[in-house]
């Protein structure tokens, strides 16, 4: 277990993240063009979705999927509420910023899912391929909860809610994940034969390059973090543990397969940095992105990538094993 955690820390992907983080903090001019980063993340979602679909087809539809999906949606509805009141209690954040931050923690991080998958597979925990669909299901509900927590806002923006709902529902990353999952499920083994190299051996390499960029971006966030107070940093480190605990609880309550519960804990603990921030700029523009992006990218993501993932796996193994 500790050995695996150490191995995880010393995997190329995570070391390249550390390299990016270090380079960024030292103000090196190393940088990945933004269109490249965007393309890499499209690739990652395509590959993750497709692989999950193929695995799901292999296993066939199962009640386990329904259970995990239900647990995931409940978590993405409940976690923002907890996060919001936690923030209001421990920090002096204004209401919109607290709500927007809460939304990020209710939603999920696709790259954390990818890193978590590697770790769980390496630990012999084979969660269901359908967990990719659960990722997609968990991406957006938190946004709506956060809007309620922030109490709508001005009439002007009320008028926007319709447009906003459509934008959230059709968010590119959700559409691509779900679509690729469906295509994987439809084409199954036959499809995998054609895309095997693209989505499997190539994946690690692309993930590595992407993590290098995420390290650079996280470092920039941390460097420019003017709004980051001690309570907020504490939140960024402890909230994932709370989310993990919730995931374990719900998994026990609903009887989620232990393997799926491990991944569910990782997802619950992860925070969004793609879909949610854009939605928050539209829905809660008064909320300070310097807070939620710094916490999500600069604090929680590195924590999960290094310490969190092995920890959540150990916890679920202990409590549900």
């Amino acid at each position: 277990m500790f050995d695996l955690a150490a191995q995880n820390l010393l995997s190329p992907a995570i070391l390249f993240f550390a390299l990016g983080l270090a380079a960024g903090l030292l103000r090196s001019d190393l940088s990945v063009p933004e269109t490249a980063a965007k393309t890499l993340s499209l690739y990652l979602m395509l590959a993750i979705g497709f692989k999950g679909g193929v695995e799901a087809a292999r296993a066939g539809l199962s009640a386990d999927f329904a259970t995990a999906a239900a647990a995931g949606v409940i978590l993405s509805l409940a976690i923002p509420v907890i996060a919001f009141y936690a923030l209001k209690t421990i920090s002096t954040l204004d209401r919109p910023t607290a709500a927007a931050t809460a939304a990020h923690y209710g939603s999920v991080s696709v790259v954390t899912f990818a890193a978590g998958s590697d770790f769980l597979r390496a630990s012999g925990v084979d969660f269901g391929g359908y967990m990719v669909a659960v990722v997609a299901l968990m991406e957006t509900p938190a946004i709506l909860v956060a809007l309620m927590l922030a109490q709508g806002g001005t009439a002007k923006r009320q008028g926007m809610q319709g447009a906003l709902l459509r934008e959230v529902a059709l968010n590119g990353s959700v559409v691509l994940l779900i679509g690729a999952f469906a295509i994987g499920a439809i084409t199954g083994e036959r499809g995998m034969q054609r895309l095997d190299l693209f989505v499997n051996p190539l994946f690690q390499g692309v993930l590595t390059l992407f993590l290098l960029d995420m390290g650079l971006v996280a470092a920039r966030r941390l460097r420019e973090a003017r709004a980051l107070t001690a309570p907020l940093v504490a939140f960024g480190l402890l909230m994932p543990l709370v989310s993990c605990a919730c995931a374990v609880g719900i998994s026990l309550a609903l009887g989620v397969r232990q393997e799926d519960a491990a991944m569910l804990a990782i997802l619950a603990a992860s925070a969004s940095y793609i879909a949610v921030p854009a939605a928050m700029r539209i829905a809660l523009p008064q909320a300070d992105p310097g807070v939620y992006l710094t916490l999500s990218l600069g604090i929680t993501f590195p924590f999960n990538l290094t310490i969190g993932i092995p920890l959540y796996q150990a916890v679920t193994a202990m409590l549900l094993g």
Binding site: E34, A163, R281, G290
Partner: protein, 102 residues
Amino acid sequence: MTPTTRKKLEIIIEAPLLGRVEALLGASGARGWSVFASLAGHSSHGDWRSDGLSDAQDKRLVIAVVSDAAAQAALEALTGFFQDYPGVVYVSDVTVLRGEKF
């Protein structure tokens, strides 16, 4: 084609809000505009720089050469818009060929 004077609006807004600003320009009677991507910037809200992870803080520059009437209407609409959203707008006079286009 006698040169005529028109207003040039330059609007800097966040990428996720581009569609709303375009709608607002159209409603104000602007007949055309062009959109450009900004790489980075600075303001009282701090520095930002475009990264490919999320376009949440990316900025777009919208240039619209319009009639005085459209400029007036757009500025009024933008005044409300900028009460909710960050961004900048500034206006200047330009001389155009084919004034009827604008």
